[in-house]
């Protein structure tokens, strides 16, 4: 058939600038796609709020997710982004050492903590349900979607830690950079969705 073996099978490594461009392009495209899903959720909430069908969109007793937990998550993810940024600067200039690795671990632990707190927030929303009104529905979706975002970033962080521990990040500054795009995007999207829960009437 179409892919039988030939003499062509020899090593064909991609050049470093192509590896870097590939990583950057893929993460940016992934972010663009994810932005569209976040926008769809936020637009849905705004649309239902504006329609307020049968005056049933938000009924007495409906409340936003816990402000305190939301604030803690916001602080934690900002700290995580700062840790990642400082680690990233060092990693890009090939700095090594325990302190350098600790920054990445801190970024990961903070992101993991944000995931856990977000899940706790989702579990303690305190809505009566059966059925949940539209406002509550939007809050549930936003809360859990954020949790999934944080979880994805935590998984990325774990994989990066694995590579650092195995000594496989040397000369791979583009991985730090491209992963950073996603990391910072997650933080921005998380903050945006939190603000949305506060301002959506």
């Amino acid at each position: 058939m179409s892919t039988s073996s030939t003499v062509v099978e020899e090593t064909h490594e991609l050049e470093p600038h192509i590896l870097a461009g590939r990583a950057r392009a893929a993460v940016i495209l992934f972010i663009i796609s994810d932005v569209m899903s976040v926008m769809a959720i936020l637009a849905a909430g705004g649309y239902l709020s504006a329609l307020n069908v049968l005056n049933q969109y938000r009924v007495p007793g409906d409340h936003p997710p816990s402000f305190v937990l939301g604030l803690i998550v916001a602080i934690v993810i900002i700290l995580s982004a700062l840790s990642y940024y400082v680690w990233g600067r060092g990693a890009m200039s090939d700095e090594r050492g325990v302190g350098q690795s600790a920054l990445l671990i801190a970024a990961f632990v903070l992101m993991l903590a944000a995931t856990v707190i977000q899940i706790i927030m989702g579990l303690t929303l305190g809505y009566a349900g059966n059925p949940y009104h539209a406002y509550e529905s939007v809050m549930i979706l936003v809360t859990w979607y954020s949790a999934i975002h944080f979880l994805l970033s935590a998984i990325v962080g774990l994989l990066l830690i694995g590579r650092v521990m195995r000594g496989r990040m040397a000369g791979r500054g583009f991985l730090v950079e491209a992963s950073g795009y996603w990391w910072y995007y997650t933080v921005i999207a998380g903050l945006l969705m939190w603000i949305f829960t506060l301002v959506l009437i």
Partner: protein, 635 residues
């Protein structure tokens, strides 16, 4: 190659694990366990158990097929994979079995997509024939209305899914990387992931047959989808979520490939028009499909967790669904159309032995369509009751989109005009596409205009219109591309007489069927009715009789493929005398495509100018073919 010794010796066990066999075994176990556990924990919620089973199937299928192995190794392996290991993952020396594994070679993935598309088209067309059977005489005599609705819905979604991937999947994976002078896709593992995601969604979707089906048609409109009591609806929602993920991964991969892996000299200005079509198509998919995915997450939440995104009694709205759906649904038409139109342009140039007519105009047409397609979704809500002040702007830009579309088709006609035509099956399908698109396009204007749409909406006129655009135009483009690239992909030559018979049966049957349905629509026949009223009996009977020709065309094509695979002639490396890069590599295509990466110094449409080899270096000289079209045209 000493690295080869580091690769595991193959055995029955290492062949089966991981492979699709281990994937299915683990997936079924995962589905049963997750379904039972959640069913026990959350009683009186059938949907929760079904969705848990689907989730279990998907996750454990991917564990079983080895999709997560690469992720784990990326993070925690002691070293990067050797080239020998990469080649083994790409299916080296694995024969046909490589098509049943998580194989990364873009050509294997392309063939997997092609086989899947053909299978889905076959299944979907069987659904179409059941619909025509039911509609051939008044009275619901073959199926009960519920079964009929499920058949219509399954036919619709299978055909739409197939049409979305029919060009970008097979040819975007197999041909596109070679066309731009790359050895593989940018992310070979993601490439395999995109295909197997699609594959994993198919058993989920087919399970709807055993779970009561779904009544909504392919659009899955809420709140009907939320209020549907049988769990068959969950299958639809889950399929869409899986499919959206698959599409996103594929789009990201194809775009990255074209962005960073073009060979030296392959500037954006020299990119073949087909590559442009695929790039714009997947870019549309990447940005439009997330809203569809979100809509299905919401429907599943409404069904499983009793949220109320779409239930008016609790503050939800069906219009929200319609907006989320059609924000995807209209660009989706162009996700299907752009690569098909671009493939048609590619074939028109090759079989007319002429440069593309107005290449920049055609390109601007593609880009214009891609941009405007995001602004037209509101025309699907004309009769929804939303009655927004945006109706007039939607009407305007829906009509506006016909201008860039016209540019593109003008380019195809200009290319064929006074060319040295080589009437291959591919060019026949391109000509059929032109004829059908004129009918589909003009009838679309009546649906774009609010006053006439008020009358025609929800009727057979709409059914006939979108079949003319999607099937008569875009699926015809697919079959043209299929006959064009099949020799390169499979290494064998399809029987041209059977291929032409396929075309004529299809074209005549198609025109007879759907022109009759236009007439039925003008008489006022509604869509989605199992029971044809006596006043619409004649056009429906005529449509059903002509559908027999379409059925005959399907079986002709299937027969042609089977006999070609069994005993077809070997194809030439450059079967059609084409000048794009895929025709410069041997057939069958070697594992990494090029011995030396080519350098490009001109566009691939310089027919009538000195040989391409004079303009280029490396491996760009088209190989001689005994079936050069010039000889036939001049003779």
């Amino acid at each position: 190659m000493s690295e080869a010794t580091q690769v595991r010796r193959s055995s029955l066990i290492s062949n089966l694990f991981p492979s699709v066999v281990s994937g299915i075994i683990l997936g079924v176990i995962g589905a049963v366990v997750c379904g039972l556990v959640v069913g026990a924990l959350v009683q009186d919620n059938q949907d929760a158990a079904v969705v848990a089973a689907y989730t279990g199937w998907t996750i454990f299928f991917f564990i079983g097929i080895g999709a997560f192995n690469g992720v784990w190794k990326w993070g925690f392996a002691r070293r990067d994979p050797t080239h020998a290991e990469e080649l083994q993952l790409a299916g080296q020396n694995q024969g046909l079995w490589r098509y049943f594994r998580f194989t990364t070679d873009h050509k294997v993935v392309g063939m997997q997509y092609l086989a899947t598309v053909l299978f889905l088209f076959f299944i979907g067309s069987m659904g179409a024939f059941m619909i025509r059977l039911e509609q051939s005489v008044p009275g619901a005599i073959f199926f009960d209305p519920s079964t009929y609705n499920t058949i219509v819905g399954m036919h619709g979604i299978i055909m739409i899914v197939s049409a979305i991937i029919m060009i970008s999947g097979p040819f975007g994976n197999f041909i596109l990387p070679i066309m731009i002078g790359a050895r593989d896709m940018a992310f070979p593992r993601l490439n395999a992931l995109s295909y197997w995601l699609l594959f994993s969604g198919l058993p989920i979707f087919l399970s709807t047959l055993f779970l009561g089906g779904f009544p909504t048609g392919w659009t899955g409109y809420a709140p009907l989808s939320v209020q549907e009591l049988t769990p068959g609806m969950d299958a639809y929602c889950f399929l869409i979520i899986i499919f959206a993920l698959s599409t996103m991964v594929a789009a990201m991969n194809i775009l990255t490939t074209v962005l960073v892996l073009r060979t030296k000299g392959m500037t954006w200005g020299r990119l073949p028009i087909f590559v442009w079509g695929v790039v714009l198509s997947v870019l549309l998919g990447l940005t439009a499909f997330p809203s569809f995915m979100v809509s299905q997450i919401m429907v599943l939440m409404d069904r499983v967790f009793q949220t109320s995104f779409f239930l008016a009694a609790s503050g939800g709205s069906n219009w929200l669904y319609e907006h989320l759906f059609w924000f995807m649904g209209h660009p989706e038409v162009y996700v299907i159309a752009l690569p098909s139109m671009a493939a048609a342009a590619e074939m028109a140039a090759v079989f007319s032995r002429k440069a593309l007519f107005g290449r920049r105009m055609m390109l601007s047409g593609l880009i214009g369509i891609a941009i405007i397609s995001f602004l037209v979704w509101g025309h699907h809500l004309y009769t929804s009751g939303a009655n927004t002040p945006l109706d007039a702007p939607y009407m305007l830009d829906t009509e506006l989109i016909s201008i860039p579309t016209g540019f593109f088709f003008l380019g195809i006609i200009g290319t064929i005009w006074r060319g040295k035509l080589w009437m291959t099956p591919s060019l026949l399908f391109v000509c059929g596409m032109l004829v059908n698109f004129v009918i589909g396009g003009i009838t679309g204007i009546y649906l774009a205009d609010l006053p006439t749409d008020e009358i025609l909406h929800g009727g057979m006129f709409v059914t006939a219109h979108f079949h003319f655009t999607l099937v008569g135009s875009m699926v015809f483009g697919f079959f043209g591309a299929f006959y064009y690239w099949f020799p390169k992909m499979v290494g064998k030559r399809l029987n041209p007489m059977l291929a032409k018979l396929h075309f004529w049966l299809f074209e005549i049957g198609f025109l007879g069927t759907f022109l009759s349905l236009f007439y039925a629509g003008l008489l006022g026949e509604p869509r989605w009715s199992a029971n044809v009223a006596p006043s619409y009996a004649v056009p429906n009977l005529i449509a059903s009789l002509f559908a027999i020709l379409i059925a005959a065309s399907v079986f002709t094509a299937v027969y042609n493929v089977i006999i070609t695979l069994r005993s077809g002639e070997a194809a030439e490396a450059n079967e059609w005398g084409g000048k794009t890069l895929e025709w410069t590599v041997p057939t069958p295509v070697p594992l990494e495509n090029f011995e030396h990466l080519p350098v490009v110094t001109s566009t691939p449409y310089d027919y009538g100018t000195p040989s391409l080899s004079e303009d280029t270096e490396g491996a760009l000289s088209p190989l001689p073919s005994p079936s050069q079209p010039q000889a036939q045209a001049e003779g």
